[in-house]
């Protein structure tokens, strides 16, 4: 049976690559980018549905966009989500410096600001329900609530993820696993902020103009 002798390996640059391994964090990050692509497609579908269902006949005699939008509340939500993303940027700076206290502090700040966003949104939707405006009233309202609430649920899951990361960084410090999760959460949080910009532009601003 043929074997690859040492000679062969040296003359041909080797048939095998000993001690070869892959960059775990880069692979995880790419995987998360790919997940976000699929998530972006979900929002693309919802925005398309919202676009199709936002003609006056889709309102079926129910309230139109102008009745739903509270510009000041939406503006406050925007500030909250942007400040939260900025705070998460602080987490990344602290991670680069290797400061565990900085990461934990940044996570708390991002969490609180994110929670303010979710709280404002819950309050806003609650006010609509109190006014008797429900998703089952018309095709237009169905699309409106589905779009806004899908984004809100994403934000809530981001908060849950942040809470878990706070706990893991506090107890385990910076391991491969906690670091790539912090990096992926950064991607997720920025992505949700971008989606909010789209919701804000195509839903809230259109309602005010």
């Amino acid at each position: 049976m043929a074997t690859a002798s040492g000679d062969m390996e040296s003359t041909r640059g080797g048939l095998w690559e000993p001690h070869y391994h892959h960059d775990v964090i880069a692979t995880r990050t790419l995987g998360f980018w790919l997940y976000m692509l699929s998530d972006a497609m979900i929002f693309a579908g919802l925005f398309a549905a919202y676009g199709v269902l936002s003609h006056s006949y889709n309102e079926a005699g129910g309230p139109s966009l102008h009745a739903l939008v509270n510009p000041w509340s939406a503006y406050a939500e925007t500030l909250a989500v942007f400040a939260s993303v900025l705070a998460y940027g602080g987490v990344m700076v602290a991670l680069k410096r290797g400061s565990r206290a900085g990461v934990l502090g940044g996570l708390v700040a991002a969490f609180v600001l994110g929670a303010i966003f979710v709280g404002l949104e819950v309050h806003e939707l609650g006010a609509l329900f109190d006014a008797g405006i429900y998703p089952e009233e018309s095709g237009y309202l169905s699309a409106f609530f589905a779009l806004v609430m899908t984004h809100g649920i994403h934000m809530a899951f981001g908060l849950l993820w942040m809470a878990v990361m706070f706990f893991q960084v506090a107890t385990q410090g910076f391991t491969d696993k906690t670091v790539y999760r912090l990096l992926n959460l950064k991607l997720f949080w920025h992505f949700q902020a971008i989606l909010w910009v789209l919701v804000y532009t195509f839903v809230d601003m259109r309602g005010v103009l």
Binding site: A2, M8, E17, P18, L34, I42, A49, E59, E136
Partner: protein, 693 residues
């Protein structure tokens, strides 16, 4: 939350004894399943294989075993889908003309219309999503990491999760047979027929949640395969050297990753309509029916290319091996794959040319559809030129690949006919269309059956029986011709699809011919099962060395057969597009590493199986509206995911000495196989052995 018709209780939801169907056919299927289940469980207990099953299969993260399980699920569901086809053919041959007899309470034939509708809906859903998709995902799972020289997928745990979510979808569909009913609105779920007002039963919910849960699995699997191909390639495996099957896997998974979420949205919004009373697709209150058709086919058409591109990849691997020549036109083959993937996004409207879009819109989609013919034509000529002046050997995989070429020709040309809106207007919803897409899906089935035969020895270390495989091929092909040529003809004669009763007795001869074709398929299935049995029985006489076919070309054939759980003892360095051919020409075929090293491997885990079980609870609870089960399963899934993230000990190390022992045994087995065609080398080298830290 909307109120539903009929009784509901907080514990059982809509479930009651009345949900058990009292139909002799279903009773027969139930008894068959129970007997089969008792036999399997009895064997596992008798042979004391439960521990083996748990350790080696249910909790595994090995990409090859996960792939094999995907393929097993797919083959079981393929059989179920075939039985549905058998039932439809038999109904149509019996219910032909006003004087045709009726049995089992049906006016004509033996299936009442509501039951017949469920049968064709189940057939389509199963064949596309639970037969073709899992088998293809399974084959990509097995082959892609080997072709690129990786130890496993990029995310082995996620891989197992995708498998179990697919299994949950299949399980929900099987459950619907014995508990409640299945959707009667076609596999596409036409709105507003699928709305609660018109489909108040649980059938639509079974259909919706089975697809929704399994498609989450497919999406995760797609992200995993793309990350694997981009990040896990061995040194020297440049993009220009990537085997074509891996290229098609990449293009097809880009389709899956971008299109399955759209299906999720379509079904999710339908779910909101059915559970919360919203008005996305209702026929009033500002709903829009066409929104559903658009969203569904924005997934549906890319899905068609999702299933056919890997089949093209399989043909591109099999044809060069059995022509003993390099593939003709590698670069154009890659370009054609991505061209097909790209165009797949701009043709969805051709599924409803007759639905009243303007001529301008129809023209765009008509031209876009015809454009698909260009890259596909490039592929066909590339395969033809590969065979040209090659040393062709018609072993079983090659027969399937060439058969697929013929299917592609017939299906592709009828597809070009259907791409013309005027033609489409006259044959829309006729069985001509049905015959067209079945011929196309036969390309996929032929590719799959060829690929299973081709790569089987790589995973199991022995080849499948040739003569029975050839009988399987010929009976299957005869069946295909007998079923689908009459179907094309009767379609031209004006026979529409989904008929439980044929008013025109002149169609009877065609129905009889199709029934005979189904009989030929039945014979071919017998030979397939016999082929598996005989091959397993005589496995020691059919052992193979690393290159199972003597003329294989790509990197996966450098690894030993059966391939050990860590794939390559030392990561190979890649020098050429057809690495094995390069090594053969350099006189290095069979070269093995001189030194071994410790290999880090992912540890087995039961978490994906647990999440799968909880997802089954979630799906079942949603179908029957048992809110306690739904809430419990949902919260438990989230808690399980969080708990798993606290597990730090997810990998282990296989010691160099252990690797050397396994490799030595494999080489001895291969040497013996080469010497006397028999070997004592067992399949147990596939089992991972955890060495103590």
């Amino acid at each position: 939350m909307v109120n539903v018709q009929g009784p509901w209780s907080p514990i059982l939801g809509r479930l009651s004894l009345g949900a058990i169907p009292d139909n002799p056919i279903i009773a027969g299927a139930f008894i068959f399943s129970v007997v089969l289940g008792i036999v399997v469980l009895g064997y596992l207990t008798y042979a004391d294989r439960w521990g083996y099953l748990w350790r080696e299969w249910l909790t595994t993260v090995d990409h090859k075993k996960i792939g094999v399980m995907y393929i097993i699920i797919g083959l079981v569901m393929l059989f179920r889908g075939f039985v549905d086809a058998l039932m439809m053919r038999t109904q149509q041959v019996l219910a032909d003309g006003p004087h045709s007899p009726g049995f089992l309470g049906a006016a004509h034939g033996y299936l009442v219309p509501y039951h017949f509708d469920q049968v064709y809906s189940a057939h389509g859903t199963i064949m596309i999503l639970f037969a073709a998709t899992p088998i293809l995902v399974g084959l990509m799972n097995v082959v892609v990491p080997l072709q690129i020289g990786a130890r496993d997928m990029a995310f082995p745990y996620l891989n197992a999760l995708g498998l179990w979510l697919t299994a949950v979808g299949a399980a929900l569909i099987m459950l619907s047979l014995f508990l409640g009913d299945f959707s009667h609105a076609g596999w596409v779920g036409l709105t507003p027929l699928t709305e609660l007002a018109y489909s108040p039963g649980v059938g639509t919910d079974y259909w919706m949640w089975a697809i929704q849960i399994s498609s989450v699995g497919t999406t995760l699997g797609a992200a995993n395969l793309i990350a694997t191909i981009v990040k896990m390639r061995a040194p020297g495996m440049t993009w220009g050297r990537l085997p074509i099957f891996t290229w098609t896997a990449l293009s097809t998974n880009i389709i899956a990753l971008t299109s399955f979420p759209v299906l999720g949205v379509a079904l999710g919004l339908l779910g909101l309509d059915r559970y919360f009373g919203t008005h996305f697709f209702t026929a009033g209150f500002g709903g829009n029916l066409m929104l559903y058709s658009d969203l569904f086919w924005m997934w549906g058409h890319p899905e068609v290319y999702f299933v056919i591109l890997p089949a093209f990849g399989m043909m591109s691997e099999i044809i060069p091996t059995f022509s003993e020549k390099p593939l003709f036109g590698y670069v154009t083959m890659v370009a054609a794959s991505f061209a097909i993937a790209g165009v797949s996004w701009s043709v969805w409207l051709h599924h409803f040319f007759t639905m009243g879009a303007s001529p301008r819109v129809n023209t765009f989609f008509s031209v876009a559809t015809m454009v698909v013919g260009i890259p596909t034509g490039v592929k066909v000529f590339n395969w033809a030129f590969t065979v040209y002046r090659g040393r062709s050997r018609f072993e079983t995989p090659m027969l399937w690949a060439v058969g697929a070429l013929f299917m592609l020709l017939v299906g592709g040309l009828t597809g070009m006919m259907l791409a013309m809106p005027p033609v489409n207007y006259s044959v829309h919803n006729s069985v001509f269309v049905v015959a067209h897409f079945h011929t196309m899906l036969m390309v996929v089935v032929y590719g799959i059956l060829g690929a299973v035969t081709y790569w089987f020895p790589k995973v199991f270390g022995f080849r499948l029986n040739e003569s029975l495989g050839k009988r399987f091929f010929w009976f299957f092909t005869a069946g295909t011709i007998m079923v689908f040529i009459p179907m094309y003809t009767s379609g031209f004669m004006g026979m529409t699809r989904r008929l439980d009763y044929l008013a025109n007795p002149a169609l009877l001869p065609f129905e009889v011919a199709e029934e005979l074709g189904i009989g030929l398929y039945l014979v071919s299935i017998y030979y397939f099962v016999r082929q598996l049995y005989v091959s397993l029985r005589d496995r020691n006489a059919n052992r193979v060395s690393a290159d199972a076919w003597g003329s294989a070309r790509t990197l996966e054939w450098v690894a030993p057969s059966p391939v050990p759980f860590y794939n390559f003892a030392v990561t190979p360095r890649v020098h050429a597009r057809d690495e094995l051919v390069w090594r053969r020409e350099q006189g290095l075929e069979g070269a093995v590493p001189a030194h071994f090293e410790d290999i880090p491997m992912p540890r087995n885990t039961a978490v994906p199986l647990v999440i799968g079980a909880l997802a089954l609870g979630l799906g079942f609870g949603l179908v029957w509206r048992m809110w306690w089960l739904t809430d419990l399963s949902f919260v438990a899934i989230i808690l399980t995911v969080i708990a798993r993230s606290f597990v730090r000990d997810t990998d282990y190390v296989v010691k160099a000495a252990e690797v050397e022992r396994i490799e030595k045994r494999l080489r001895q087995g291969a040497a013996e196989a080469a010497r006397n065609g028999a070997s004592a080398s067992g399949i147990d080298v596939l089992r991972p052995r955890e060495s103590s830290p």
